[in-house]
Amino acid sequence: MENEQRIGFTLNGERVRARVAARQHLGDLLRLEFGLTGVHLGCEHGVCGACTIRVDGRAVRACLMLAVQADGAAVETIEGLTESGEIADLQDAFHRRNALQCGYCTPGMLVTAAELLAETPRPSREAIREAVGGNYCRCTGYHAIVDAIAATAETRIAATAEARVAASVEPAEAGR
């Protein structure tokens, strides 16, 4: 019950500790203490989606979670998701399709899109639009973002199908 507390959490796979003011939101902690400037602050009232990160596997607004609440949690930012390669295909698709201009919405958009694709392997364009409907982009008009997410879904489905074919072939071959 202090205005400042010590916390420890997992940040992009690394164990970290910090002393934080209770009033500080998680976005500020990640930016100011850990230099994770890929966490972008666009409104600090939960509407624009630019600060969307992943906490314990779920997309959340970094501006609407207090830093102290990250104690014991697993926090992932765009920097960690990039280094792990988990969303490399999605990032490639965004780049290839020019689904970003100024890049300010992009980290939050990617985290949101990644969660959508994890839950809905082949979302319709409408479902994509609804899922990223809480992430504001002033530059693109959204069309290219929808294209990039849809293209990633198709690529993943094709890759999964190929893997399945390969898997179904392998036992037979092994049996020879």
């Binding site: 019950m1 202090e2 939101h25 207090l66 609440q69």
Partner: protein
């Protein structure tokens, strides 16, 4: 836009949380999902002395059915409501409402208890709870009490939860096999607070609807039970209900829209939701 200085505690038990609230009185503010409270803090619209974080309390989570009642822990997140087979099967009204609440990242964090305790008059879940005749389980240092939904929402951002008390769970009587529900809202953009919304719960009664509860949100200072409209459905059908609605709601003009517009939209929504419910019946 940075929050004012504040103290923070993360109790491990409900009793510990209640003790903190008792000790700090009005300065203490329970923190649930934080999707509204942290916004208020960042905007300096709220300046509590102590935040009592309820996120570490296992007593407040979980969805379970027992004795004809579904008990939803207050800290159950919107996302978990959406993912619950029990909710999907037994409480289709709530299942229909949840996708309208803000956006995925907000639903991942926001809680049903936080939503009903805040009692935003434009929010979906308070209206659903009222339509479903929920009972609110409220714990204080001296014990636990239950408040019926009809007595829970007292005004703008005002509920029956008293000082030093914590909302523990929402208990909803399982609707019968003949139950029918309807939900819809009119929002300018996906996930926005609705200009007008309607949560309706009833049961099939021959070709009509019985035991109907029509709860509008976004039209008053709290979720509004439209008793006249519900009575008129039984007596005269949809058109009569739409006409009777004028006696149930009286939305005021505000920044976004005129009261007359909300009244008209409520009328349209009522027609559409009833049409779907009776179509199903």
């Amino acid at each position: 836009m940075k929050a004012p200085d504040v103290a923070y505690a993360r109790p491990r038990t409900l009793d510990e949380a209640l003790a903190l609230l008792a000790e700090h009185g009005e300065a203490a503010q329970p923190l649930a999902g934080g999707q509204s409270l942290v916004t208020s803090l960042n905007m300096r619209l709220a300046a509590p002395g102590l935040l009592v974080d309820l996120n570490g309390l296992p007593e407040l989570t979980g969805i379970a059915e027992a004795g004809g009642v579904i008990r939803i822990g207050a800290m159950t997140r919107h996302r978990d409501l959406a993912a619950s087979p029990l909710v999907a099967e037994r409480l289709p009204l709530i299942a229909a409402a949840v996708p309208h609440i803000a956006h995925p990242a907000i639903r991942n964090r926001g809680t049903i208890g936080g939503s009903v305790a805040l009692a935003d008059p434009a929010a979906e879940l308070p209206a659903c709870c009222l339509a479903l005749r929920a009972s609110f389980v409220i714990r204080g240092l001296t014990g636990e009490r239950r408040v019926a939904a009809d007595d829970f929402f007292l005004g703008l951002f005002e509920t029956a939860i008293g000082p030093g008390e914590i909302l523990v769970a929402i208990e909803i009587p399982v609707p019968g096999a003949d139950a029918v529900s309807g939900f819809d809202e009119l929002a300018r953009r996906h996930g926005d607070y609705a200009l007008v919304g309607l949560a309706a719960q009833g049961r099939r009664d021959g070709v009509g609807l019985g035991d109907l509860r029509l709860v509008f949100f976004g039209v008053g200072d709290r979720p509004v039970l439209a008793g006249n409209a519900a009575a008129a459905v039984a007596a005269g059908g949809v058109k009569a209900a739409q006409d009777a609605l004028a006696a149930d709601i009286d939305p005021a003009d505000d920044v976004a829209v005129r009261g007359a517009t909300r009244r008209h939209l409520a009328r349209v929504l009522l027609g559409r939701v009833l049409g779907r419910m009776t179509g199903e019946a």
